[in-house]
Symmetry: C2
Subunit: 578 residues, 2 copies
Amino acid sequence: MQTYIPPIDDYRFLLNEVLGFDQAMAELGKEVDADLALAVLDEAGKVCAERLHPLNRDGDEQGSRLVDGAVQTPDGFAQAYRDFADGGWTSLSADPAHGGQGLPFILQLWFDEMMSATNLSFGLFPGLSRGACEAIAAHASEELKATYLGPLVSGTWTGAMALTESGAGTDLALLKSRATPKGDGSYAVAGTKIFISSGDHDFGGNIVHLVLARLPDAPPGVKGISLFLVPKYLPDADGGFTVRNTMSVGSLEKKMGIHAQPTCMMHYDAATGWLVGEAHRGLAAMFTMMNAERLMVGVQGLGVAGGAYQQAVAYARDRVQGRSADGTRSPVAIIDHADVRRMLLNVRAFVEAGRALAGWTALQLDRAHGHADAGERAKADALVALLTPVIKAAFTDYGFESAVQAQQVFGGHGYIREWGMEQYVRDARIAQIYEGTNGVQAMDLVGRKLPMAGGAVVEGFFDGIAADVAAAGDLVIAVRTGEALALLREATVALRGAGVDATGAAAVDYLRLFALVAMGWMWTRMAVAAGAGETALHHGKLAVADYYARRVLPQAGGLAASIAAGEGAIMALAAEAF
Amino acid sequence: MQTYIPPIDDYRFLLNEVLGFDQAMAELGKEVDADLALAVLDEAGKVCAERLHPLNRDGDEQGSRLVDGAVQTPDGFAQAYRDFADGGWTSLSADPAHGGQGLPFILQLWFDEMMSATNLSFGLFPGLSRGACEAIAAHASEELKATYLGPLVSGTWTGAMALTESGAGTDLALLKSRATPKGDGSYAVAGTKIFISSGDHDFGGNIVHLVLARLPDAPPGVKGISLFLVPKYLPDADGGFTVRNTMSVGSLEKKMGIHAQPTCMMHYDAATGWLVGEAHRGLAAMFTMMNAERLMVGVQGLGVAGGAYQQAVAYARDRVQGRSADGTRSPVAIIDHADVRRMLLNVRAFVEAGRALAGWTALQLDRAHGHADAGERAKADALVALLTPVIKAAFTDYGFESAVQAQQVFGGHGYIREWGMEQYVRDARIAQIYEGTNGVQAMDLVGRKLPMAGGAVVEGFFDGIAADVAAAGDLVIAVRTGEALALLREATVALRGAGVDATGAAAVDYLRLFALVAMGWMWTRMAVAAGAGETALHHGKLAVADYYARRVLPQAGGLAASIAAGEGAIMALAAEAF
């Protein structure tokens, strides 16, 4: 395995030349500039490259294990986590009111990229803690906040989300876990949850589970679900947390990948918990954490793709097979072969546009939280809501496909475990599934996000793209992005008011088309910023933008045609005829 | 895991209503009709469903192991193999002159489909034996043939292909293994080979390795490679095979999938072997086995997709989540959701067209071997040569993508090992890589197969499609296939005489477009055969043909545009700039 090289040069380019970072921070009154941001990213990159990456392969081979009912993470994970927390890396963008560093969210999201590139299993520990913090901060009582937020932000404790049950995945209306008031303000939570990432570990400290369950008087369906904070350790009389709650790990899921991550089946045996937010309003509270998590999960796809890209490039430069195209040299490095370059460029075209789009979206999230003007906050918030399913689904689909292509560069060696490429593929696969499958994301985009503000949000987003494309003149990437945008706008209009079947039939292709255009937009902006391409980085940006325009964007037409085909061809067969 | 249901009804439809099987056999003077063929397929399907499928999951968990230098296959594999051989299942389409049953190749290829659907690791054992048989039958001396073909055909012995070395994969010119004449007609073969499927096992009997190596006087490059037959056991004085040859398993490769298959690193320590074919002409002999193997590997993709489809349909019927589209029922089986159907239909649209195309190609192979007229034989042989890389690459790409989509239907459960869906994905992945990566297949198609007979072979193939499409009238599938064929013809003309870079830049997209059209052609033929759709099977064919036309074929335009973009965007970056 090659050492991971944090993409600091690309971050610098994006902050300074594409995303207008200093100006954006100034507008929010944040005392952060690109130099400071890059210094943070540089240190974060070192943590990923030097501490997390070396644990990744062994973590996969060893996996987390359940020993006498307790999780043992792979060798080195516990110490790495403690060092990670001690270094302040759990609290980058957390609210200073809760002990966070209050840095812009873009730093967290790009840090997530680098963590996912180097150790996806590890990254889920701090990632889930952040989700728990957001839900607690937004919905919990002052008392719960005072008790739990500090240690979660500092990383002394970690968080977990316990939503899914064996009969209730996408459809949480079906969940059966119960919570009964104990009369002292606490509840007895009972049920079994599956697929609980970071449900237990051996890092020390408390583990704060946020558990969905029904109160005795709950109405049926999703309107009867409440959220409970259920810690592994309960407070004792002395203010310590030493009393073991009645919850236990039933088993660890045996999975395709992320073996180092302890994905738990959890039993809550009348475990003591406290209500977070209002009774029966747990779904709203849950979405607070889900939305933050979904951006992170999208960026997991991006990270894996970037990590796999680096490995594939190093291998393609090193591996010699075959002749040069002019027949004069043999053997040559396989990076000289057009088909190998095609695979690498597919990955890179996604990674660099994805990195830019994630950064842009993160800046919108900071605006949504921190802009002085309420209208600007609302506008930015709507844009984040619009882009969240796109980033979650498209980035994880492209991330998986990228890992597969990077693996293909290795030929037979790509299939062998020791080379590490197949781990990227196995690990990346989960991100298309968890935090709402990518099909569910697409339904969210078409069914819920396009109609926001009567369609004004998505139209505003498209107008912004159109303006940038127009300003870019006759650059091929701008012209082609404009053409794809026209197809996307048509599809958007056609899907307005579509029924459930029509939405479901079109949604995945629509989301993909949306992502193609959004990344074309980012390539347009990067190409404009690259000017005449005088530095190596600028030259590379122009070349990959051109590749994206000529070799990736042509997919738009097929997607548009498939969307336009409607649901007829999909619903024609009876269920028994499959 | 659901029981596997052999697709006998679909085979019957194809033989009787689409492929004109009885007529084709009559033309070849073969005394086989569809009834007999279906009886054989029915029995073959039972072997797959009842014997091979139940071993598949445990085989994956247990894997083959190396114990004291010898391979131990997973529990049950050795007995299953012996029963398989005793049942005559290794010799279906083998030449009766060597003890084979002389049945048409279509039965073997569809049997391969069912084996791959139920136990890909197992299927490689008889599959590699067949490849070895073909090379020995075509190139070896009469003495070698007399000794080795009988036991290989009967399955008493098995075969293995030892081509790849750590520094020589795609580029066999780089291989370093040596063979030195021993003066008695035999050779001492020395070298280390990697990725040797079925290189050793515990089924009993001899293992016949076909090993590529260089003679002392070999010219450099691919023109200095010879093929040697190197058996695990050498003949003793009494005519038995009891003398252990000096070859050994160095290690088993730890792989992403096909864990039950012992993929060996093999050491040949001056192992005794015999030349197969002429000195320095080993590559030609090797391609004899590679071509047969490549069709089988393509069908592995098809088989996995078909197996995964059955599991996904069963799950989608059983799993209840969410509401019906009209909002009146909740929860409903997820097969009612449009996006779930979309995934299932994508898989099915490939599986059924792929099954038909594999069958059509297999019939051509029988013509190539058995037609009375030499011109017809040559014509059929050229069509097989044209379609071999298409089937190998497109079917394995679609096979993998199908496994991924079938896994996605399962949501989180798809990621958990016990459900078995992730094994399909891991197993299917190898087929895109071995027997020549899919990139190499695409280069073969564009660089070697399109120019055959000055382009007349491919043009003739297209003319056949055009005729069927024209005869089908205004069926949507026919019209759309015709449109895609026009794009494919344009691309074919444009690639005529293309240089190496232009070929490499276009090849993978070109092959995909070719496959899209070829499968559209099969859907056209199936739709025509389905008539008014009065039986359930016919109705299903019409529905899926329509789906393919409206939702899959639109990809053709994007592929054509990407092909037309040329190599410029791919070759623009310097190797250092990746």
